[in-house]
Amino acid sequence: MTKEAMTSLERVQAAINLEVPDRVPVLPLQTCYFACRYKGLDGYEMVKERERASRAHLEV
């Protein structure tokens, strides 16, 4: 791992300001669907069971 000298917020803001951060920030766009599928929830459960979907997202 490279040595991290910035918080993730600082790193993203540096990129927006067109500066060179300590490393390239990574920010995959997420819905909970990927995490839910990985945790075994089906399509209905992803949408209707908010607590389980939220927990799956946090765990992944």
């Binding site: 300001n17 067109l18 990574v26 209905y44």
Partner: protein
């Protein structure tokens, strides 16, 4: 809805229908967006009028709850609001096909309606960022690029509103994230004139390396590990592409590594991890 209209194990799908009619352009041109929505909200939301406000407030409260939950786990959340461009909005609610006919059959009426609603879209997004406390707006742009329309259409019905919206938000201290799905390669030179402080996010259909050539030093670029690579590729292939992105698009700064559009539901866990690990371990060649 999975389990109701679709097999239980599919994901939520958008059922595109002609919600707005041609005469609605004139009504919107007269009323603006918010007054039109108040008058005609049943077109968009099946709930009774008395329940709509309550429903909207509940959705916002849930999102604020989610933000708090993520922050408690040490993960910052960025998106504080979301807006459609006028073109994206009408395309979704007239349908892509009917809206495209409108652009040629009744262009002045379309433009008048767009002029009337854009200010409300700007202000509504500002209000959302105040409610959530996060000064980022995702501007959803999926149908206005060179894949869908010639530049003449883009200039009149998409670009001038993108510019107006982003300028207003940047002035308010808000970061606009332009969610540019589909191919925008021919539109890239226009984005040089966006206000400083925007993010141009590509989904892999636009040539991101060309974007770096044209927008480098002008706009922050974000993207673009394509969905098929996340789902069907190997961790080595993901790492190889991310390394190329970091070295070329990340050169000199102004780059955020990301999925091309959203991480797909069937992405492999090890591929998503490879993307994150690559950013953490690979030092860009400056």
């Amino acid at each position: 809805m999975p389990g109701i209209d679709l097999p239980r194990d599919s994901i939520l799908q958008h059922d595109e229908r002609e919600i707005l009619l041609p005469e609605d352009y004139d009504l919107i041109a007269d009323l603006g967006w918010n007054a039109f929505a108040e008058k005609c909200y049943s077109k968009f939301n099946p709930r009774p009028a008395s329940k709509i406000l309550e429903w909207g407030e509940r959705q916002t409260a849930r999102y604020i709850d989610d933000i708090r939950l993520w922050n408690e786990h040490g993960v910052p959340v960025y998106k504080g609001g979301e807006a459609f461009s006028p073109l994206m909005f009408f395309s979704m609610f007239r349908t892509l096909e009917q809206f495209t006919f409108d652009l040629y059959r009744r262009p002045d009426r379309v433009e008048a309606a767009m002029d009337a609603l854009v200010e409300d879209f700007i202000q509504d997004a500002i209000e959302e960022t105040k409610l959530t406390g996060l000064p980022w707006v995702m501007l959803v742009l999926e149908r206005g690029g060179c894949f869908d329309y010639p530049l003449k259409i883009f200039e009149r019905f998409e670009w001038k509103y993108i510019k107006k919206m982003t300028e207003a938000w940047v002035k308010e201290g808000i970061t606009p994230l332009l969610h540019l799905d589909q191919d925008w390669t021919l539109n890239l030179p226009y984005f040089r004139d966006l206000p400083m402080g925007c993010i141009c996010e590509f989904d892999s259909c636009t040539d991101i390396f060309k974007a770096k050539e044209i927008l480098g030093g002008k706009q922050c670029i974000m993207g673009d590990v394509r969905a098929s690579l996340q789902t069907h590729g190997t961790p080595e292939e993901v790492a190889e592409y991310c390394t190329q992105l970091i070295d070329v698009v990340g050169k000199g700064g102004g780059f955020i590594l990301s999925s091309g559009c959203y991480v797909p539901v069937d992405a492999k866990f090890e591929n998503v991890r490879a993307m994150v690990d690559c950013a953490k371990t690979h030092t860009p060649a400056q």
